[in-house]
Every structure is written in C-alpha cells, then in structure tokens.
Amino acid sequence: MKIKLPSMPKSDKLSVLLIMTVIIVALGVQYFIEVSKDEDVAHQLMQRELRIVEQQLFFELYDAGNAANVLRPAVLRMLHHPDSLTVLTRGMLKNYPNVMAVCIAFEPDYFPEKGHWFELVSHRVGDKIVDEQAGGPQHDYFKLEWYREGIIADRNRGRWVRPYYVEEYGGRYVSTFSLPIHDDEDRPVGVIAIDVTLDWLEGILKEAEPYKGSVCRLIDVAGNVLVTSGTSLAIPDNCFTDSMKVGNYNMQVILSCPQSAIYGETLLVDVVMFILLLICIVLILYIVRRNIRDMSRLDEAEENQRMIQSEMKVAHNIQMGILRTDFPEGLSARLMPMKDVGGDLYDFFEKDGMLWFIVGDVSGKGVSAAMMMGTTVTLFRSAVRRCSAPDEIVGELNSLLSEHNPGMMFVTAFVGRLDRRHGLLSYCCAGHNPPLLDGRVMDIEPDIPIGFQADYRFHRHSCLFPEGSSLVLYTDGITEARSAQHQLMGLQRLHDIVAERSGETAADTANRILEATCRFAEGQAQADDMAVMCVTNNAPAQHPSLTLSNTLSELTRAKTLLGEYCDAIGLTSKQTREMNLALEEALVNVINYAYPEGTSGLITLNITASSDADGRHIALTLSDSGAPFDPTARPEADVSGSIDARREGGLGIYFYTNLMDDVSYRRSDDGQNILSMTKTYTI
C-alpha cells in the first residue's frame, strides 16, 4: 500500500496534518494521564512493599530487642555473681546467630570490688566466642552513645542506637540495641547492649521489588546506607523513590524504582497505539481516496454516457435525415428505431414512370447496424439510377456489401419496381419478410439475404398490380413487437389492421400500422426497430405496350416487359421464355429489316392477355411503318439438314412461327406492318 500524499489537493493535505496533530496531542494527553496514574499506582505499590519490608525488619530487629528483654531478669537475678554473667552473654550469642556481641555494662562503681568500670562482653572472633571485661579508662563506655542513650531509654522498649561501621566485624554495619536495667528499688544498674549486624536483612530488602530494577535500601538517620538490595550503594538515576521509617529503630527503608520500569509499559502501549492509529489513518485515507477515485470514475462514466447519448442523438438525426419523407402519391413509409439508431431502412425512387422502392433490415442493432443501413440506402440510390430490374439492384448491393464484410453483417431486403401504368409489379426478395399484397401474404420463394455470397444470382418475380391494389411491406420489428403480457404482435394482427383499409391512402395505412404496433407494445422496451411501407396503385390499368426504336438494345426493354407480364399473369418460367423467344426473333427481324440501314424508326409492341376456360391467351403485336414485309410468306427453314446445308438465316422466323399458335401479318391502311402472334396456355 502506497499513499502518494503529494498528489493530494492542498486542503486534503492540511486536513491530514490536522488529524495527525490532534491524534498526537490526544495520545500525549493520554500518556500523561496514564503516567500520573502509573505514579499513583507505583506509590501505592511501593508503600505496600515498604510496609511489608518495614514489618519484617521490625520483627527481625524486635527479636534482638526481645532477646535483651529476656536477658534482663536473668541479669538481675545473678547480680550477686557478676563474673557468672558471661554465661548469659555467651548463651545469647549461641542462640542468636545474627547477634555479633552481647554486652552488659554497669553503672560507675556498681561493683566496688570491680572498679569504676565494669563491662562484660561476649563477642564472636571467627567461629569462637570470646568473653572479656572491656571497661576501663581506655574504654570509657559511659561516654559512648549506646550507653548514654541506653541508660535513659524507655525501660520496656529500650533503644536502637544509630548503626555504625565496625571494622572488626568484617567491615559490616552494626546496630546496637540498648536496654536499661533497673533494680527492685528502681535504681539504674546498667545497660544490656546487643550488637546486631544488619547485612542479613538484605534478603528481606531483596524481596521488595515491585518493578524490575527496583532497589531497596536501609539507611540510618544520617543517610548512611546500611543494607542495600542492589549491588551498588549509589541510588540509580531517574528513580521514583518512597521511604518509610522502621519502627523506632532510627532507620529508614527507601525503595527506589526506575521510571523506565514504571512508565515502560505505558510508553510501549502508547507507541503501539500510535502506530496502530497511524495505520488506521493511512488505511482510511486509502479507502476514502479510492472511493473518491471510483466516484470520479463514475462521474467520468456519466459524462461519457452523456456524450455518447448526445452523439447518438446526432446519429439519430443523421439517420432520420437519410430517410426520404417526400413521398410520391401512392407510397408512404414510417420507421422507428428501437435505440437512437437502428438498422431498418426504406427508400424509393421514381424513374421512367416507374416507382422503385426498398424496405430492408440490417442484421444486428445499434451503431454498426445504422452504418450498414446508411451504406445500403446510399448504394440503392446509386444502383437504382443504372439498373433496369429489381434483381439487378439486389445483385449489385449484394456484390458490394459482400466484399470486405468481416462482421458478416447482412441485410434482408425487398426491392420492388411498380409500373403503375401497366399495373405490373416486379420485385426481388432477399430473405425479407414476404409483404402483404392486397391483404394477403405474398407466396414467394425468397433469395438469400444481401451480404452472404458475392456471386449469388438473385431472381426477379412479377405480379399484376392493377388500380386499387395495395402492398404492405414491413420489418420483423412490427410483427415481433411484444406487449406488456409478453405477447407477440404477430402476422395475424398486422393482417387484421391491413384488412381494415378501404380507400385509405398509403400514408394513412402506414401510420395506422405503426400506431397500432406502438399501442400494442406500449411501455415495453422493444427488441427491434420497426419499419413499414405501403404502396398503392391508383392509375387505371392499361395493356402493356412499348414504343421502341429500331436498335437491338431495345430488346432488353421489350423482353423485360413481356417477361414480367407473363410472370405476373402466372405463366411458368418455361412458358415465359418461350414467349420471349418468339418476341425476340420477331423483333430482331423488324429491327434489322423494317427500316433501311442507318435510318431510325419506331416500333410499337402491344401485349394483351385474357383467360377463359381454354386457358390463358396471350397476344403480341408488333407494328412498324417500314417497308412492307411479310415474314409468314417466307419459305420455312430446313432444320433437318447437315450443318453444311444450313443457312444461317430463317431460323428466327422458323422459331416464332413454330412456337406460337398463330402468326399473322397484315399491312394496315396507314402503311404499317402489323405482325400478330397469339398463344394459348392451358391452366
């Protein structure tokens, strides 16, 4: 975990510093409270320790005093045998190992025979006990403290005199307990003095160790250290010290505890707490910063979303702008993208009195579909200007859209061409939903969708589309619209809506379909775009006819019209081809021979059809105002001979005279060659 403070805003840095300061101050205050609490605790603890030590010392030393008290009545009883008193002092030494010497000193001239001084002493020399009479001018004990103090001391409590250093006891501090002796008449007799070494008290002092490194010392009133629990006599630095007087013994116990030991734990706890808090702060900062980053990322995402939405709005406007709304009479369309942009499309174009139109649906949705939609519409507009048949247009779109199509996107489309005058509708259906023709679903075999296979050959179909006919084209967004109850709109509902149209304009029908679909799917997010187009024909039907010039290129127009008409009235493709062959052969003859070479002239083609119980009757009439020419009068071509015997000409006339049921020629009064051909196909 790494916090980069420098990357924070200045105000944040100040806040962090402030928080740190507050925490440090709080910890400091807490530390001092803890320390004073520690001191109180230490004081209590040390007092308790001191009391224990004092009591132990008191009792130990009391023992010594007690020994003197035990000795005193025995001394009084044996006053008449002063020399025997050494038995008592010697016995005392034996019983009390801490007693270094026992002394009984008498008042001046108490035993006249013994002189002015008489002091019986038993003391230890090594392991032995030596008795002596120590008093004399050189050892004038009357002047010594233990005696002076002792003789006037409380008779029951005696007196501990100041401890003193004695070289001959191995350099040890010794304290002397003095107890006065009085006889029955209450006259002072002398003093019992017991010298006690103090070093054996060390053990007691050593037990007083409330803290590690504590030193407990016993000192006299002058401050001399008598016994210490430590190795050094010096008082350690930085100590917390407490003291207590030991009974009435002129001694004090002093307990010194190092501050480090007293405050040590508190300090350690505080340091640990400080570190933990620091870690907490850093962690909190990290989390807060991360959240802020996430929030800013969220803001960024929202901003992006807004930008995308506004871009999509623009895209929507562009896409809607691509779609033409300047509908000609008899054609209207509506489109509603599911998202802002979609892949449904429609377009139309008028050329040579023909109305061309396309309704399509790009696979996929959203932007990619919208781009493909735009491309498809643009390509359609380009192709429709050059092409002469719907299948040609679809073929061109297909070969262009199949190239470089890594996304394998495809377009289903229905391309139609309405010849209003002749009531003839030609179309090519590339995998698109079959439209409704006069309210009925067209029975068509669709080709594959556009974009799959560049060299696919699409097929053209035709149907009659006389005055009053209607064609409703739609995309699957209409039929697959879902209601709140998850029902599909379905073909039947569309069918029902279309069935209600009577004398309605194309625009009304298209509107009604879209509105009904939207009503059906109200409030539901729809899965697909919706597009609908309605095409009607209000022109009274005429027999198909063409006025052609005498060039071979006119052949295509004538054959296209005848082919589509034959297809529209229900001839099979074989029959259609047969009719076309007859037309071609007759027309080529007229084009080539009616007018002198290099001059132009007009040729009229009329197609009529009727049907009765015998079948469908189709009649073709070619009229021209060229030189009189009767093809029926020419000798029939010989089709049985060998190749060498064959003439190249004559085969054409042979074909149409043989393919048609009847071929007749007449020269009209206004000087026209009129060639009529009829054929009947049984149904």
Partner: protein
C-alpha cells in the same frame, strides 16, 4: 450473359451463363470469336447455367461446329437445361452435336 473460358492440355472448357440472346451475341462477340478459334482442339461447352437461347445463340453453335469440322476439333455440349434443349431439338441442332 457471362462466359468463362478455361483452356487446358486436352482442349478447352467453356461455360455459358445466363441468357444467350441477340444482344449477347453482339456484346460478347470478342469472347465468342475467341471460343470459335479454340475449336482446332476438343471443346466442351458447359450449359448448366444457360437459361435462354435464341436463334442468334444457335448461330454461334453453328459457327462452332463448322470451324471444328474444318480444323479437326470436336464440340461437346454438356448439361443442357430442359427448355434450352427443347430449342435445340426444335431447331434440329440435337442431331448436329454431341449432347451429354
């Protein structure tokens, strides 16, 4: 109409696709002449995708036949569709060609 010409060691294979009408014979005359020139060796004409033929188209086959007879080649027509075959039959061309 579209024309595919493939030449190989044993001769050539020609595929005629679409409608072989009068317009096609004028528009595709270069390719058609090229095919005629190949008939000094065996030529197979694949008509599996030939949907329509008029007398102009048949005239091309006649040239093909004549040229191959003059140069010792041979013309084989394969995969004729039924209604195109009908035209061949009607014109007596079935007797002139090897039709498979």
């Amino acid at each position: 109409m579209k024309i595919n010409i493939q030449t190989h060691d044993d001769g050539a294979t020609v595929a005629l696709i679409g409608e072989f009408d009068t317009l096609a014979t004028t528009e595709m005359s270069d390719h058609l002449n090229e095919i005629v020139a190949l008939t000094d060796r065996p030529v197979t004409v694949d008509c599996s995708e030939l949907e329509y033929i008029s007398s102009s188209g048949l005239r091309f086959f006649m040239q093909l036949k004549r040229n191959s007879e003059q140069h010792g080649g041979a013309v084989t027509i394969t995969h004729l569709r039924e209604d195109v075959k009908e035209i061949f039959r009607l014109s007596g061309f079935c007797n002139l060609f090897d039709i498979e």
